[in-house]
């Protein structure tokens, strides 16, 4: 029994890391039709923000709180200056955001001198529950992820701003004629997606150390998740990420680890072959 609980916790913990990273990517892809190839670097910037706070002697948790805000502002500025020019050409958008990501990644690499930096988690160690030890920080990530999913979903489905977002994605022309400022909404959505990436980076960096490639590791799996879940809904990418995360954490129990990594892709691609629309098919949110 202990073993099963532990296994479930471990898989859930990694799955929530995956979901957290995919959320921002999924929101931007679903709502705006843009695949943000710089997403991994937004995650990196979130992590780097925490590092800067830590370096200047401030508590790590202040950095974790600040990271989404910093990234929201960063995303807003980027959308206003660059991203908004890409809406008409999604393919160019991929290349453009990739280039942005490359610039960010290599700049951070330069700033870090190519080194790995360790950042302590604000809640280190483990706690015991029914005789089983659980990692405190992974639990925090689990709880925050659940809260973020619930919050985002409520915002998109239950608030007037959510209605406006959904409306302007369904039919931008009609939304504009109803007096909804679509450019402003796009900017807000992009900033929101960036903030989610920043939060993800800030929360996972104590687990993985800061290095310029921290986002890159997850980027490909994150895209796979969005593909698997289906673009155009909020739930789709979340489900996709859960599937990819659980498979990635679960497979090494069954097969040798070097095989597990490619196997995740094989499984996901097989599913996409039979459900090219993804798990959830529906118009955009």
């Amino acid at each position: 029994m202990d073993e099963v609980v532990r296994l479930v916790f471990d898989i859930l913990a990694f799955t929530s890391v995956m979901v957290l990273i995919v959320l921002g990517l999924g929101v931007i892809a679903s709502m705006m039709g843009i695949f943000n190839f710089a997403h991994g670097e937004f995650v990196l910037l979130g992590a780097y923000t925490v590092f800067l706070f830590h370096e200047s002697g401030l508590p790590v948790w202040t950095g974790i709180l600040a990271a989404p805000l910093v990234l929201a502002v960063f995303g807003l500025v980027l959308e206003r200056t660059v991203i908004r020019r890409f809406y008409a050409a999604p393919i160019i958008a991929m290349l453009g955001t990739y280039a942005i990501g490359l610039v960010i990644r290599e700049s951070v690499r330069g700033l870090l001198g190519g080194l790995y930096k360790s950042i302590p988690e604000p809640l280190p160690g483990v706690y015991s529950l029914g005789g089983i030890d659980f990692s405190s920080w992974r639990t925090v990530i689990l709880v925050v992820t659940a809260a973020v999913i619930a919050g985002s979903w409520l915002m998109l489905t239950r608030t007037s701003i959510g209605l406006q977002i959904r409306g302007s994605l369904e039919n931008p022309a009609l939304a504009r004629s109803c007096g909804i400022a679509t450019p402003k909404l796009y900017a807000l959505t992009f900033a929101f997606g960036s903030a989610l990436a920043g939060l993800a980076g800030a929360l996972i960096v104590p687990l993985y150390q800061l290095s310029a490639d921290i986002g890159l590791r997850f980027l490909v799996q994150a895209f796979l998740s969005v593909m698997l879940g289906g673009v155009g809904t909020f739930e789709g990418p979340v489900l996709g990420a859960a599937a990819v995360g659980a498979t990635a954490a679960g497979l090494p129990w069954l097969v040798i680890p070097v095989l597990a990594d490619p196997l995740v892709f094989v499984l996901a691609l097989a599913i996409v072959r039979f459900r090219p629309q993804g798990f959830i098919t529906q118009g955009r949110l």
């Binding site: 990694f14 001198g113 190519g114 360790s118 030890d133 990692s135 090494p252 680890p257 990594d261």
Partner: protein, 419 residues
């Protein structure tokens, strides 16, 4: 004959501004470095000898993924060569240093190394850090280039190319002291070998397994992971279920931190488990939070904690030459091997009475011996292209949140057992 200082720095400034600034080699602005006409760099001493200079080529990773090690490496090369030049060079001849960036990329490296051989016509090449790099550049240097090559990093062994000398520790040197210590002194019997999936862990584990079994302990599992695997719960499960009491780790960054954290959180160390990792040097002291480092065993040819007068003097002089540098003079980053390599070459040229021909120097290297170095002297095993050196087992201690190594045992002149 003397290269004037102003001339040199003027050329450096122009060369930098024009095309090298973006290549990430900013540290090369150190006074005296001159940008070459075809890329690459050279460092001349302020004096010269009518008989010409000894040309030493350094091929190391100034940029790219393992730039931190590469930069420590060339800083140490510069440091060692400067010491020799200050003392009058080798038999009155100064050493000129030529640097080519191997850029952590064997494809780029081969071309750049060829430059050292064909254009610079260096007398010896030192460098390469990863095994992939050594494999890529050894042929252009030793076979086609007909030049002596010295490889400074601790590695997996089995490199037995003529005229290629290895000055870093081999698996035998890293395992023969540490593993019996863990089994006999600490009483550990059940080993796990979690590893990154590439050649160094594979061959090191092969040797480690032999030593483990010869000492009456057993290997519960030996497993390889993609280098950037982020999740290790399955591994931790095996460690727990297999009642493993010693984890002999060869997982490397970026997969290292998640592994160490999950291992620590599983209570492995708290429940009396021993963690050993033979590439841990001073660079890795602050790599993890202190509580995750506590109690870790490493085995290398030098730790600052060895506290030998010669090593301490070296560290002090190195700190003076590169104040506040982030590139430390440590064993894990191939720096001690680099220092040893330069000194072995010096000794060999003295033995040949200044003859720089490869065969002559190589023959002298083969019987080479250096009296001093960080952690002690070293001695080539004739015909084996590897050297005996002192090895130290050290354990990581934590005082008030600060980590440090404590040297536990010293083994004198350990045999590399290669070739």
């Amino acid at each position: 004959m003397t290269q004037s200082g102003e001339d040199a720095s003027g050329t450096a400034a122009r060369g930098l501004g024009r095309r090298r600034l973006l290549s990430g080699a900013s540290a090369l602005t150190a006074a005296g470095w001159v940008a070459g006409t075809s890329g690459g760099w050279m460092l001349r001493p302020k004096w010269a000898n009518a008989a010409g200079a000894i040309k030493m080529g350094i091929a190391t990773d100034i940029t790219g993924a393992i730039a931190p090690s590469g930069n420590s490496n060339w800083q140490v090369a510069q440091f060692a060569v400067e010491q020799i030049n200050k003392g009058g060079g080798i038999l009155g001849k100064p050493i000129e240093l030529y640097l080519e960036d191997t850029a952590s990329d064997p494809k780029i490296a081969v071309g750049n190394v060829r430059k050292l051989i064909q254009e610079r016509k260096v007398d010896v090449v030192l460098g390469g850090i990863t095994s992939a790099m050594r494999q890529a550049i050894k042929d252009p240097i030793v076979n086609r280039g007909r030049t002596l090559y010295i490889y400074p990093q601790l590695y997996e062994g089995q490199e037995c190319t003529k005229h290629l000398y290895c000055t870093g520790p081999t698996p035998a040197q890293q395992c023969d002291e540490l593993i019996p210590y863990i089994i006999k002194k600490l009483g550990k019997k059940r080993f796990a070998l979690p590893s990154a999936n590439y050649v160094w862990p594979q061959l090191l584990n092969k040797y480690a397994r032999k030593v483990i079994e010869a000492n009456g302990a057993e290997v519960i599992f030996e497993e390889y992971y993609p280098l950037d695997q982020p999740e290790y719960s399955a591994t931790i499960g095996k460690i727990r279920d297999g009642k493993v009491d010693c984890v002999f780790n060869t997982v490397i960054p970026p997969g290292l931190q998640p592994f160490m954290k999950q291992l620590h959180e599983s209570g492995f160390q708290k429940n009396g488990g021993t963690l050993a990792c033979v590439y841990y040097d001073e660079n890795l002291l602050n790599f993890h939070p202190a509580h995750e480092m506590e109690g870790l065993y490493s085995c290398l040819d030098y730790f600052q904690a060895v506290n030998d007068p010669f090593g301490n003097k070296l560290q002090a002089d190195y700190a003076k030459k590169f104040p506040d540098t982030k590139y430390l003079f440590t064993a894990g980053s191939a720096s001690t091997g680099m220092y040893r390599g330069v000194k072995f070459y010096e000794a060999a040229v003295i033995a040949t009475k200044g003859d720089l021909k490869r065969e002559a120097v190589s023959a002298a290297m083969d019987k080479g011996k250096i009296a001093d170095g960080p952690g002690g002297g070293a001695e080539m095993v004739p015909g084996k292209m590897h050297c005996k050196m002192n090895m130290y087992v050290a354990q990581c201690k934590v005082d008030a949140g600060k980590t440090r190594y404590e040297v536990i045992s010293k083994a004198e002149m350990v045999d590399p057992k290669e070739c």
